[in-house]
């Protein structure tokens, strides 16, 4: 029942996302064809592009053919390079996924241990330091964190490449930039949800039975505290996808975020449209997946519904 409701709701949201991205090109002030081709383009080129984009058809019909083409994976072609957009996306998307995945691992491996540590030391100075340093500093936006990490690790210390994708180590700085942001939220979340659980009766029972403290924390407390963490990770994966736009631009990482920014600079609107759509749809799907996972992982939620 829950899944059916979720999916019907999802269908409306996806329809809305498609409609909004479709309308984007019509928000261009003036004639989008003039803006894309520039002043010097020939009349023949203009007519051709207008024809190709279907801009001389009624709006409803345009939307219909937009959906029809999308359903067979046809995103149109890039105005600048004339390549089919689907090819560009196939080329760039894996790099973004790789970056997002590594950032997720970094975020988890910093955030959860720090959160546990802060929860165990709650109220003491260690807790304060963790909250202040990790939560505050890491929550700084990517366009701040990225340049600062670049300055320290690439320019001053010279440990890592400044930008690009040539060496294997190139991924480290962009992944750290995104991973730190994620770890800030995870630290806070782990700390809060662990603290809530630690006062529960069954934890006292576990301790009273003489179970060792690490076992109480890991097997009893953390298991219960993990659920809200799953949700946060899911929600943040989407934020991560959006964050890649800025991070990829800073570090010249050739993912879909950089493709988006490049397409905006070149006024290659069909590519812009496609990138926005792909990132938004990824976000919607990750959220759905998290939601389902959460229901499956928590028996209480299942029984309640």
């Amino acid at each position: 029942m829950f899944i059916i409701k979720k999916i019907s709701n999802l269908a409306t949201v996806i329809f809305g996302v498609l409609l909004l991205t479709f309308l984007l090109i019509h928000l261009v002030p003036g004639d989008p064809v003039d803006v894309m081709l520039g002043e010097s383009a020939s009349t023949a080129d203009r007519v051709q592009l207008r024809e190709d984009l279907g801009l001389n058809q009624p709006l409803i019909q345009q939307f219909g053919s937009y959906l029809r083409k999308l359903s067979v994976g046809d995103f149109g072609y890039s105005i600048q390079t004339k390549t089919p957009i689907i090819e560009l996306i196939k080329m760039r998307y894996p790099a973004t996924l790789k970056l997002a995945f590594l950032s997720l691992i970094i975020g988890l491996s910093i955030g959860i241990p720090l959160g546990i540590y802060a929860a165990l030391k709650a109220g003491k100075w260690q807790d304060l330091v963790v909250t202040l340093v990790s939560v505050r500093l890491s929550a700084m936006p990517a366009f701040w964190l990225g340049p600062m990490l670049m300055l320290i690790f690439a320019v001053w210390l010279g440990w890592l490449p400044v930008s690009g994708m040539e060496s294997k180590a190139s991924i480290v700085l962009p992944a750290l930039t995104l991973g730190f942001g994620l770890s800030a939220i995870l630290t806070r979340m782990t700390r809060t949800s662990l603290l809530e659980v630690l006062n529960d009766d069954y934890i006292r029972t576990a301790r009273a039975k003489g179970i060792s403290e690490p076992n109480v924390i890991i097997r009893h407390a953390l298991r219960a505290a993990l659920l809200p963490i799953i949700t946060i990770v899911g929600l943040q994966m989407g934020g991560l996808l959006a964050g890649t736009v800025i991070t990829e631009t800073i570090f010249s990482w050739d993912g879909i975020g950089r493709l988006l920014v490049e397409s905006i600079e070149k006024r290659d609107y069909p590519v812009t449209q496609a990138c926005v759509l792909v990132v938004a749809l990824s976000y919607v799907l990750v959220n759905l997946f998290t939601d389902v996972l959460y229901r499956l992982a928590d028996p209480r939620v299942k029984f309640a519904s």
Partner: protein, 264 residues
């Protein structure tokens, strides 16, 4: 202590902006003999790649940034609160449709939608604000709707309704005042997030355009000259950090003080 620190930082920037105005710093004055120079007696924080004073540009930038943040926050709050009140008060079909629309806006992660809108609208201060307004009202609408839904059934509202109070009167006199504190807290956070969004867009080259000063655009230039002039990126970065931390800490303080629990 944290509260004092955040107030101190905010006060510091405000006084600095005023001082910059009084002393008539010129953020657009180009000195080609002093390109990317280190902090010195003429240029207290050094100069950028066109020999413009970093200090003067930082001060002008923070002014613009505050202006954008305040305008966008006011506009988005008005739109969002209106939509939220209508949805929460009338319920039913109107509520479903309005919430469906907010769901669609929420399906775009982070500032992606603002990036998309400013991409098609073109760069510039006004378009930047339009893009941020189009995407910023959603959180207010959600928050207001949730609160209105429960306030609608409070006894004082029902009493007023049965005494024949009109709908606008019910909303303005009996529901809106109870929303005030939660909205004030939301507004502080949104000030910070609008400033960050503005800087992000300007960083990507989508926001405020040269020669107008903006911290985001300055940071982008600074990154470009990081190898030759690391002081540039450091100064802009530290200034940005101080301001964002101060506003966020201020928001936390305000939330504790007004004892508002925001659930989103």
């Amino acid at each position: 202590m944290i509260k004092k620190l955040s107030l101190f930082i905010l006060g510091f920037w405000m006084i600095a902006v005023l001082a910059g105005r009084v002393l008539q710093f010129s953020p657009n004055h180009i000195d080609l003999n002093a390109i990317l120079s280190l902090p010195n007696s003429t240029y207290l924080l050094g100069t950028d790649d066109l020999g413009r004073s970093i200090l003067a540009r930082l001060l002008r930038g923070v002014e613009v940034s505050f202006l954008v943040a305040i305008i966008v926050t006011l506009v988005t709050m008005t739109i969002g609160v209106f939509i939220g009140l209508v949805a929460g008060f009338f319920g039913g079909k109107i509520d479903r449709i309005l919430m469906q629309i907010t769901d669609i806006f929420l399906a775009f992660p982070g500032i992606l939608l603002a990036i998309a809108f400013s991409a098609v609208l073109g760069p510039g201060l006004v378009n930047l604000m339009i893009a941020l307004c189009i995407t910023g009202w959603v959180s207010y609408a959600r928050l207001t709707r949730g609160q209105t839904l429960s306030l609608r059934n409070r006894q004082h509202v029902q009493a007023a309704e049965s005494l024949g109070a009109s709908v606008p009167r019910l909303i303005i006199k009996h529901i809106l005042p109870l929303l005030a504190s939660i909205l004030v807290v939301e507004a502080t956070y949104s000030l910070a997030s609008v400033m960050i969004a503005e800087a992000s867009l300007s960083f990507l080259g989508l926001g405020i355009q040269s020669p107008d000063a903006s911290w985001g655009a300055m940071l982008r230039d600074a990154v470009r000259y990081m190898l030759v002039a690391p002081h540039y990126v450091l100064i802009v970065g530290l200034s940005l950090m101080s301001l964002i931390l101060a506003i966020n800490l201020g928001g936390d303080y305000l939330r504790d003080k007004l004892d508002v629990r925001t659930e989103k």
